[in-house]
Symmetry: C2
Subunit: 107 residues, 2 copies
Amino acid sequence: MQNQRKPTNLFEIIAETNRRHIIDLLRTRPRSVGEIVERSQLSQPGVSKHLRILREAGLVTTSKESQKHIYHLRAEPLKEIDHWLEPYRQYWSDRLDALEEFLDEEE
Amino acid sequence: MQNQRKPTNLFEIIAETNRRHIIDLLRTRPRSVGEIVERSQLSQPGVSKHLRILREAGLVTTSKESQKHIYHLRAEPLKEIDHWLEPYRQYWSDRLDALEEFLDEEE
DNA sequence: CTGTTATATTACCAAATAGTTATATGTCAT
DNA sequence: ATGACATATAACTATTTGGTAATATAACAG
């Protein structure tokens, strides 16, 4: 396999179910590692491993509250996924119908 | 009981760069396997392998033209990704107005 | 200091992944 | 029927992934 892969492919990062779950948890509010562990099926090191990946992908940031590490969601990088999806939305979208009409008129 | 569907996690399916590339190629128009091979970095069996995965995920359909197998895009399943993304969009676009979103992405 | 709590890192392993070559299958042309 | 063409499948393999247990690091409490 001579495949040169990017260090952080966002698509691969969100492909993992547990990571998506963590992201979803942080959407509610920032949370400590312990809180996330409680709400996941993973061991503490397992969670920390995923958090590291999310951190390096820029999807979370951290702050500290005494001994606790608080993880905050930073969703902006997900824009990349959204952007890739853009040209496909027309295949199912109903919410862009008005826009399509608008564009048809413009041409 | 053998009702075992393959757990086709759509996120994992589109996580692979070559598969996204194939999907993008089929957005232009339906294409034969050979055409896709020409436009990829993969061997023919490599492409066929990915096509099978896409087929089983319902992201492509096939038709035949003599000896050629023509692959057609079927984007609907991507809706799932789009749906997951939905609550995150507000983080990078304050207004969810469809036209504004579209114009932002056109830049 | 000492012990406790919270998190990160290390070392290891099983399973999954994605690639290859070789081969099978199916269709067309002669 | 035979050979060429188009694609799929099989068999194999290196790499990556995601999990765990054990351990390190760091901050707080007394």
